[in-house]
């Protein structure tokens, strides 16, 4: 039995434009089962329904349909139980410009019903754990993006929740802060917390998450460990660069070659080929293109990525959407 169990969760919005009211299904029936102690990643493009799902699970918006239990508490009937069990760290953060990190942490603990002395103790411990002690009594507006993000996370776990929801934890962070953040997320897990995060970064889902659900258009299109998902796509991917003017012709030449399972012409004079075996396919591709008088500028063989999984399931690349 998972620590987060979700069945048929759905939410739609009405958007009004002049006279017409259109119903948009932000989340159209999501099932999830997250095991205790996992880092679970919700991967999808912007507008796929990641944040809406997260906000429903965090009791911020009521679902239209579906059921969920988090740490044994029912999302609809036991909201207080859910709130006690979860920490929620919103995408845009939630620090006040003029408040200090210490004040924010103490307030957050006290809003969870923790007494004053204990709240102050926990704030001190959290400041140390997130390497914020040095800035503890400075206003949050003086912090860097990474520091502010760390305050957000420290606030989110000040009441020692069982489950932590992180909405796009590394969006807008520089690579170094991102790596730092990944370490923090892993530390949360090592402290016994279950982490449920959303991301639109393939690498983040691949490297950081134990299990990934890919969501698109409010529906989960694939779910599993990153490795299982990638293994579902047999063979390798070959990317060939031929330049804009030859791209179409190259596509025609290669379509129908029996050792290629998929040929796709992409922007920028690139072709994406799905092949059984990259090693034997590359020379044959080169020869075929050479015979047709097309000069190849780049050739790259790689194992399928989560983007290829996304592409296979949705027909679009995550990088494009």
């Amino acid at each position: 039995m998972g620590i987060i169990e979700v069945k048929g969760l759905a939410k739609s919005y009405e958007t009004r434009s002049r006279r017409k009211t259109t119903k948009v299904d932000a989340v159209a029936g999501v099932d999830l089962d997250v095991a205790e102690g996992e880092i679970f990643g919700f991967l999808g493009p912007n507008g796929a329904g990641k944040t809406t799902t997260l906000r429903m699970l965090a009791t911020l918006i009521p679902p239209d349909a579906g059921e969920a239990t988090i740490a044994g508490a029912n999302l609809r009937s036991q909201q207080a139980g859910v709130r006690a069990a979860i920490g929620y760290i919103a995408q845009g953060g939630a620090t006040t410009d003029d408040a200090t990190a210490r004040e924010e942490l103490v307030l957050q603990a006290r809003m969870h019903g923790i007494g004053k002395a204990e709240a102050q103790r926990r704030a001190i411990a959290a400041l140390a754990a997130f390497e914020l002690t040095e800035y503890a009594d400075r206003a949050c507006k003086t912090y860097s993006g990474g520091q502010r993000r760390r305050v957000d996370i420290a606030m989110g776990i000040i009441h020692r929740p069982k489950v932590v929801f992180l909405d796009e934890p590394t969006t807008g962070l520089d690579p170094q802060s991102r790596a730092h953040m990944w370490d923090e997320v892993r530390r949360l897990r090592s402290e016994g917390m279950t982490v449920f995060l959303t991301t639109h970064y393939l690498e983040e889902a691949d490297v950081l998450c134990d299990r990934v659900a890919i969501i698109d258009g409010g529906v989960i299109v694939a779910e599993g460990t990153p490795d299982t998902l990638k293994r579902e796509i047999s063979g390798d991917i070959v990317t060939v660069g031929v330049g804009e003017e030859f791209a179409e012709k190259a596509g025609e030449v290669l379509t129908g070659q029996d050792y290629l399972t998929e040929v796709e012409v992409r922007d920028g004079g690139m072709l994406r080929l799905a092949v059984e075996d990259g090693g034997t396919a590359v020379p044959r591709v080169m020869r075929a293109l050479d015979d047709a008088g097309i000069i190849t500028s780049t050739v790259e063989v790689h194992r399928p990525t989560l983007d290829d999984v996304f592409l296979t399931k949705t027909g679009r690349s995550l990088r494009e959407s």
Partner: protein, 254 residues
């Protein structure tokens, strides 16, 4: 108990943050002060029909109205501050905790009451220099009226801000509420000068009773029935507004 505890928590934080940028408390009072200095001297002849035969008497009529206007306007514009907080995720962060929803409202609205108390004190002290006299008990009762007004207007403004996300629209709406309320309360110009139908309309306006009650207090008639009427109407209105706005805090969807 929990509501009180949480209200104190939110109130304490908001007051602390406000003290860090006290400038806007002073800026908020600058317009009334300008009115007091430049506009009030014109009032003696204008208010003669209401029994103002001296400068001090004119102030006794003018200042209470201005204080009501200050409480009304100050509270009504409080929603803008909430819009900023909503955008920065602070409200959402609180709403994921078990903190009392009504406390999220009351903690803020009571901070606004404190701001009003300070601003009103500035105006009253300045007015004393111009010859205004008022007894301490009357002043305290007057503060009670002003506190109820601010509680109502701020709660209303917060509730609307949770509903209307666009600051420009919020501004227009607040203006459209504030202007008629102020005119119909006789805050600046006495409603006694108005034609009968307008006076009848004003009779249904709790803020008009607040102004009448305040003037009674400042002119030394603490037994005037308008005072308890003002308390009764404003008290009822405050309860309604707080309940309505508190619900918005409980289920605001943003």
């Amino acid at each position: 108990m929990k509501v009180l505890h949480d209200t104190w928590l939110i109130f304490h934080r908001n007051v602390k943050l406000m003290l860090r940028s006290p400038l806007w408390v002073v800026l908020g009072v600058s317009q009334p002060v300008v009115f007091l200095l430049l506009f009030a001297p014109l009032l003696k002849p204008a208010l003669a029909t209401m029994g103002a035969h001296s400068q001090a008497q004119a102030y006794r009529i003018y200042v209470p109205g201005m204080l009501v206007a200050l409480a009304l306007a100050g509270g009504l514009y409080a929603g803008f501050d909430l819009l900023r907080e909503l955008a920065s995720g602070i409200v959402e962060r609180a709403r994921v905790t078990p903190v009392s929803r009504i406390a999220l409202l009351l903690g803020r609205a009571l901070r606004d009451v404190v701001v009003l108390v300070v601003q009103a004190a500035i105006i009253i002290v300045l007015s004393l220099l111009f010859g205004l006299t008022v007894s301490i008990p009357a002043l305290l009762i007057g503060y009670g009226i002003l506190a109820l007004i601010t509680l109502t207007s701020a709660s209303f403004s917060y509730g609307v801000a949770l509903k209307i996300k666009n600051p420009a629209v919020l501004g227009q709406l607040i203006n459209n509420v504030a202007q008629p309320l102020m005119l119909l309360s006789g805050t600046l110009l006495p409603i006694a000068l108005a034609p009968l139908w307008l006076r009848d309309t004003a009779n249904g306006n709790p803020f008009n009773w607040a102004v009448t009650g305040m003037r009674a207090l400042f002119t030394g008639h603490p037994g005037d029935p308008s005072i308890w009427k003002a308390f009764a109407m404003l008290g009822g209105l405050a309860v309604l507004t707080v309940v309505w706005s508190g619900r918005k805090f409980a289920k605001s969807v943003r």
